[in-house]
Symmetry: C2
DNA sequence: TTGTTTTTGCAAGTCATTTGCAACTAGAGT
DNA sequence: ACTCTAGTTGCAAATGACTTGCAAAAACAA
């Protein structure tokens, strides 16, 4: 990383370790850790699987952490201070994180894959409702296809069955004709 | 189409019109027309919307007609006698057919869109179960997500909600270790 | 048959994503 | 703290799905 020698792990993690008291760290009820402390957890996951905790990876995780909806590679890249890392590195890191189960890939059919940080051990499995007019994304809580999945698996003798389910429609705002 | 001047509409349709008695023409119970007669119906749909019935389009429809599973553009192209038409024409025709509602697009997450002929007026809405090991595709009858779709639409105030749902898993044959 | 409009082939372009490779660095070992 | 090495990164170039521009060719109506 010759172009940005200052982005070492120390600079980012160092400041993080002083943030234990971040009021947003724990979202009550969910048990999920948020805020910057979350980032420390994430980098620990990397270390735990003996992957190196590099500047680009921390930045990418930090961007993912602050995104409420699945983001494309380009969106993640755009949200990093310019010069932080190469676009290719985002692709490679995302692939790594996906393989580690730290992020989940979604496909909304617009040609670019989207990624979202996985929460909790169950992976926080859920689906999305996407406005076909303004691209607004609504995160749907929980999954209603579990039974279906089991039925389909059993009926066809398949194992390790998973599913991909997304909904598309026109959101309330776009129904009024006000393109947002 | 300088390279294949002999592929006129007459050559294909002509032979079709003599095939009314094709034993596979009507699949009992379903009311769907199959066999070559189906192709005549399809070309009529083109004419009805004043799109030209060309050689390439007939060939493409004929390939789609014989495919049991959604096929990629390349697969459709590969199934046409060489020189029948350009790959680009398959892309363009598929886009046209999709716009007309004659074919439906699916995405199994492998980078290439897949297309399947639509049957009946309801569109024969259904889903697929794909083996992640050997790519085998199982067509699942009916759709189990209709209620969900309505609930999601109502709860979020969306209109014209549709959904995309596919299942992925390991098929019986691949579970035994025999890669097929 | 002619005329108009649509369609096609070919070449080139776009865009997401991947890959080759040399330079670089995080973290382990010393 | 210093070295070593495997894992990472940047850059450039490649890949692959899909699209677009344009002139030649074909469908079909008059």
């Amino acid at each position: 990383m010759s172009s940005s020698p200052g982005i070492g792990g120390a600079s980012l993690l160092g400041s993080l370790e002083t943030c234990r008291g971040d009021p947003a760290d724990v979202k009550e009820g969910t048990g999920h850790v948020h805020g910057k402390r979350r980032l420390i957890e994430l980098t620990e996951q990397l270390r735990a699987k003996s992957r190196k905790v590099t500047g680009p990876r921390q930045k990418i995780l930090d961007v993912l952490r602050t995104n409420r909806h699945p983001a494309t590679i380009r969106e993640v890249f755009a949200q990093m201070p310019r010069g932080d890392c190469d676009l290719v590195t985002v692709y490679r890191s995302m692939h790594l994180l996906e393989g580690m189960g730290m992020v989940k890939r979604f496909d909304f059919g617009d040609g670019a894959a989207r990624f979202e940080l996985v929460n909790g051990r169950d992976g926080g499995h859920h689906h999305h409702l996407i406005c076909t007019s303004c691209d607004r994304i609504v995160e749907l809580e929980d999954c209603f296809a579990q039974e279906m999945e089991e039925a389909v698996a059993a009926r066809n003798g398949f194992k390790s069955v998973t599913h991909k389910l997304e909904f598309f429609g026109v959101c309330p705002k776009c129904q009024t004709g006000h393109r947002v």
